[in-house]
């Protein structure tokens, strides 16, 4: 029997239970009934706080994922250069995801499920990286600040290496990279990325 909770406490309890279930079974593997059962409340109480399962899923992600304000702060604090902005937003993202790897589990579950709605959520969360890299490379190329590179593919390379580093450290806990700190590893990967696209800081 669940005791009476304040609305904010109830909402937090729903989010906590939903996060565990979604990361364990994916979006389609969890029903509103199951979440309600785990909480010991009726589905009607759950719908009082979230209009749909999709809204609840998105809110779970919003709670874990890096907030946009955090990217704004990174840009405000940066010198505005490609290398510093990308490095700073990467650090913000890595900090938020490593704090709660359930986010990565949900992303993996989403990939396996092939659900358009959840795939879109994650794609949007990669856009600060993919769009920024693609647009900036296109703009820097005529200035000779980067070598001839397809910005879209460079963005894919960046996304791939960052995602793999997070999986290796936070999900698989791969022994090969055990002695490397996650921040150190991602910083090094960002440096390799700039080297790969032939970025020249001074002309940027």
């Amino acid at each position: 029997m669940s005791k009476r909770l304040k609305a904010s406490e109830r909402k937090a309890a729903i989010l906590a239970v939903a996060k565990v279930l979604f990361s364990d079974k994916g979006y389609h593997g969890v029903s509103v009934d199951e979440i309600s059962r785990r909480l010991g409340v009726s589905p009607a109480i759950l719908y009082r706080h979230f209009s749909s399962k999709e809204a609840l899923y998105e809110e779970v992600l919003n709670q874990i994922a890096c907030k946009r304000e955090s990217y704004v702060e990174a840009v405000v604090q940066s010198d505005g250069s490609f290398s510093e902005v990308l490095r700073m937003i990467t650090r913000r993202y890595v900090e938020s995801v490593s704090r709660d790897p359930d986010y990565l589990r949900m992303e993996l579950q989403s990939a396996l499920e092939g659900s358009d709605a959840t795939r879109q959520f994650f794609e949007n969360r990669w856009r600060p990286f993919t769009d920024y890299i693609e647009v900036t490379i296109r703009e820097l190329q005529p200035l000779g600040a980067v070598q001839q590179t397809d910005g879209r593919i460079a963005a894919l390379m960046f996304q791939g290496m960052l995602r793999e580093a997070l999986y290796a450290k936070c999900i698989f806990r791969t022994p090969r990279y055990q002695e490397l700190e996650l921040n150190e590893l991602t910083d090094y990967l960002v440096t390799l990325f700039f080297r790969a696209i032939g970025y020249k800081e001074d002309t940027g």
């Binding site: 304000e69 990217y71 702060e73 405000v76 505005g80 600060p128 647009v135």
Partner: protein, 76 residues
């Protein structure tokens, strides 16, 4: 509708690009001058609120017209 001194077209761009462009544009203005930004990313509403809070510039107004957003920011 308020007047502005410089206009920035950030249509089609997503976070962090509109903020980055706004930061660079506002550096060219003097205190009290107004930058107008036009954007299409719905997330830019929250982004420019956060931007103004963090930089001490004043968000004079936010307008939405269809899929376009315009922000008038007075340099602090």
């Amino acid at each position: 509708m308020s007047t502005f001194d410089l206009e920035l077209d950030a249509r089609g761009l997503n976070c962090p690009l509109p903020i980055l462009r706004a930061k660079k544009s506002i550096q060219t203005l003097s205190s009290g001058q107004v930058l107008r930004i036009i954007a299409t990313d719905p997330g830019s509403v929250k982004d420019f609120e956060a931007f103004c809070k963090q930089t001490g510039n004043e968000l004079l107004d936010t307008l939405q017209d269809g899929g376009e957003y315009s922000f008038n920011i007075r340099k602090g």
